[in-house]
């Protein structure tokens, strides 16, 4: 649905150059919710703004629903944008128009006749549950309601794609949850493809099918959320299962074990301890519900350095678990950084 190829965007201001997006390739499939995560300044917003060409990329291609946007003329681009919804962190509502007036705005832009407009506005307000507030002004409603107006407005042109730039960042956790719920629901009911930007792990956890992590203008990992979580060394997994830097003593092996679904239900720790008659120390862990499956990560400590634990590690892998062994203290990898054993992706 959205194909981004070799995208580059450089900002030039007073002789200084900032490469905001540095060669990004990304594909968002039809009907999925795709999240882009990253720290502030990673280039997430710039990337998103390149998708509807609010920002013109310096290099690369952007295709939405099969059309290369960079090849369109001014008028064609405007019509294409009418079919790409966008919601914004600070809502971007017209303060001089009522809720209904704001939702009518894109319809006016599209040249929908007045009579049809009223019916469509009512339909859209119903969809986001704001019928009662049709005549209120944005200043009179809450942040969550404002974002609902933003969503209704974005859906006016019956878009196939919705772009969202930190749509919940200005909202409290409860309101965030209800907006995410609404987006998830629209995604399912209308088959709406959603590309969203966020810096909140929780958003990815709740509604994303796939995700990408950006750092300094580049995508450092991307794929289905489930796969990323099971991928050793994944930043997404580290973000979702925050475990402190391991204290490595050299005479033990610190292992992060990621498990999902069925394997989560088996008592692998006690099995391991019994089979090899060793003491297994649990250092930390968490379990999350991701898209209906339980995925968890447990940090355990085995006696003896990694090389004496080869059989034990193999045992865990055979049990269908993803195993990530932390480097040994004093290792060349240095303090703070976690060296990770090379690992085949989970199939």
């Amino acid at each position: 649905m959205i194909q981004i190829e070799k995208l580059r965007k450089v900002y030039r201001a007073r002789g200084r150059e900032v490469t905001a997006v540095d060669g990004v390739d990304l594909t968002v499939r039809e009907g999925e919710v795709f999240g882009v995560l990253g720290r502030s300044g990673a280039g997430k917003s710039t990337l998103l703004r390149c998708v509807n060409l609010l920002e013109r990329p310096d290099e690369g291609r952007v295709r939405v629903d099969g059309r290369d946007l960079l090849e369109l003329s001014g008028g064609e681009l405007r019509r294409a944008r009418q079919r790409i919804g966008m919601i914004h962190q600070h809502f971007g509502l017209l303060s001089s128009r009522t809720v209904a007036g704001n939702v009518a705005f894109p319809l006016e832009v599209m040249g929908v006749p007045r009579a049809e407009r009223a019916a469509r506005v009512a339909e859209l307000l119903e969809l986001v549950g704001l019928t009662e507030h049709a005549d209120a002004y944005p200043a009179q409603i809450s942040g969550g309601q404002k974002q609902r107006v933003g969503i209704a407005r974005a859906l006016a042109g019956r878009p196939k794609v919705l772009l969202s730039d930190e749509a919940t960042s200005a909202l409290d956790p409860e309101t965030t949850a209800s907006i995410l719920e609404l987006l998830r629901d629209l995604n399912r009911r209308l088959g709406l493809t959603i590309l969203l930007i966020t810096h909140e792990m929780d958003v990815v956890k709740r509604i994303c099918d796939s995700a990408a992590v950006m750092r300094q203008g580049r995508v450092v990992e991307s794929g289905p959320v489930r796969e990323l979580l099971l991928r050793p060394g994944s930043e997404l997994a580290r973000g979702l299962f925050p475990l402190p830097e391991p204290v490595l003593r050299g005479d033990t092996t610190v292992v992060d074990v990621t498990f999902e679904g069925e394997s989560a239900d088996r008592p692998f720790v006690s099995t391991l301890a019994r089979t090899y008659s060793i003491d297994v120390n649990i250092l930390g862990g968490a379990v999350e519900d991701i898209g209906g499956t339980r995925i968890g990560r447990l940090r355990i400590e085995l006696p003896g350095p990694p090389d004496v634990n080869a059989a034990q590690l193999a045992h865990l892998r055979e049990a269908g678990l993803t195993v990530e062994v932390h480097g040994v203290a004093g290792d060349a990898a240095g303090a703070g950084d976690t060296a990770t054993e090379e690992e085949a992706p989970v199939s």
Partner: protein, 218 residues
Amino acid sequence: MTWDEMVPLLRQGTLETLQMTVWSTLFTALGGILLGVLLVLTDRGGLLPAPPVNQVLGVIVNIGRSLPFVILMMAIIPFTRALVGTSIGTQAAIVPLTLSAIPFYARLVETALREVDPGVVAAAQAMGASRVQIVGKVLLREARPGLVAGLTVTVVALISYSAMAGAIGGGGLGDLAIRYGYQRFETGMMLAILVLLIALVQLVQSLGDLAVRRLTHK
């Protein structure tokens, strides 16, 4: 001078002042909004960036704003004569009044438009709005309270300029004040004119404030 002698003169003077003010306000609103929109559009980060045009417009506006009204009025007499056929009278006064108020109001328009949330403009662009639609439906509409507040200030300035215009044959209350109050020491007349001008300014300001309150939904 008796009250009965004063009333017809005052009525005539007030009508002329209103005439000058209303017409020049109308032309100023049109010209000022047009110029203000152009200043914002052609700015570097604007919707139609054209820095050279922007700079030229900026210089013109600044020149217009730095000329004292009385001097401008005298300086453009040939132009006024070419435009309305005469350089004295109420109609003629409208020309310099408008010309001096447009740059003044254009700056106020520019300020009001700059205060429109750029996020709203970006949202409109993302919805596929054209530049004309953005100017009409977003910038001017969102800036309405500021535009009206600015216009109120401009109208008050126009009323006081129109009194000055009276000094060189423009008619209106200013003309009366000079002919009767200043040259013939008619204190009663002078006081009546002052009261009328103060009332007029108060009225304009109150109406303007009311309109701004009505238009503000913050």
